[in-house]
Symmetry: C2
Subunit: 264 residues, 2 copies
Amino acid sequence: MSFEEDTAVRWDDPVWRADLNPRWNVGNNPNGGYLLAVAVRAMLADAGREDPLSVTAHYLSPPVGGDVEIRTEVFKSGKTLANVSASVVQAGRERVRVVGVFGDLSDRRGPTRISARPPDIPPPDECASLLDLTRQAGRAVPEVMNRFDLRLPPDSPWGRPGEGDPFEITGWIRFNDGTQPSALSSVAFADAFPPTLLGALAAGWVPTIELTVHVRARPAPGWLLGTFKTRVLVDGLMEEDGELWDSDGRPVALSRQLAMVLGS
Amino acid sequence: MSFEEDTAVRWDDPVWRADLNPRWNVGNNPNGGYLLAVAVRAMLADAGREDPLSVTAHYLSPPVGGDVEIRTEVFKSGKTLANVSASVVQAGRERVRVVGVFGDLSDRRGPTRISARPPDIPPPDECASLLDLTRQAGRAVPEVMNRFDLRLPPDSPWGRPGEGDPFEITGWIRFNDGTQPSALSSVAFADAFPPTLLGALAAGWVPTIELTVHVRARPAPGWLLGTFKTRVLVDGLMEEDGELWDSDGRPVALSRQLAMVLGS
């Protein structure tokens, strides 16, 4: 079983269907990035395009593992870009609404200028496994965490930022079954890190309200380097701004989610 | 005539209608932030909520001034939040698709922690008017630019960033008719600055593909301080990441758009 198989969709006229695998669960509910990737598979198929360029998910009501239907609408199909909407429905109830624009990242022409720089952390071998850290701390390991090999630097300020620092988590990530990253899976990687403020505040739960991912490039094989920051938490509403860099040092994706801190 | 009047919508069962005022045009087409604000007015009314928390617009085909219909769907209405989709249609063709989540920013409880800091530029009186700068440079003034009083610092690196610097524009902004900023108009302010890379590259046109704005607070009266950066331009695809701060120094909105550089 791999990311590819677990996100498969099949056409069952007039909808797409998928079987959400509980291997991607946090508690009883599928991880939001996995859910988004499943929807994006159906959207890409309908769009007849290779790559997601920007996708926005609104999370409405968490589904459980098992069958979902995905109702799609191509609302624009142009020469370069196609725009698609999708509703992920389970038990007659809409769970996620997605809007996305799709194209072909291998066929683009235009200027390149990158002033952003990848975060500077030690190589993966000198970092600590999040799984090991979580087990050592005696904390429960969400099932989805077993799908990823996620490494944090030994001096990671995660969970204990200094005064005036953003809440931040930075680390290496890859699938733990050897599956290589792709433009599609970058939308899942954008929601695979623990919440930036987990451990920093007595937050019981930080559900994602909305997640937008821009994909700029198909990643090279190997590790992705991810960094996620929260700079503006106001009355429990916060962003998580993410960047994903590939093993060639190229920026692959930018993400931003709106999340809400609920009491513990 | 004011922002309030120019964004008014009226119910004409089963759709909303608005009259796009060409005072907000860039060339023959309404500015994207203005268009978004018109759609958001209809969405707020349908949601029965006070404030936009996150709105995402996909720009499909530019309309012209005049009548548009706005077809809305409330796809979730919960205790705290409501999610709404809207299609802005003109001459039978969809022009903009918007998805948003709405709530009440005055009624929120939860932690606040802000590590972001407003940009440090001279006060508005010591800055230069963008209108004056544009006229002095002998460049055409887009009609929408007359709706705003936008001031840039005298040493603004806009249009001529150094090696390794992001493309960036920072300045003060307010409506030029004395209308005070609001949560609604913050979505228009998020698209009111000139493109970050205007003047820096020989870009003919930088159309917005997708724009997402998070609103965190209702702004205090007075100036807004806005800063917009582009750090990852790859093969003509770029983000513009924006922040808007109010006159009390509080962060009001975060924005990100995906734009595409087209040849000149």
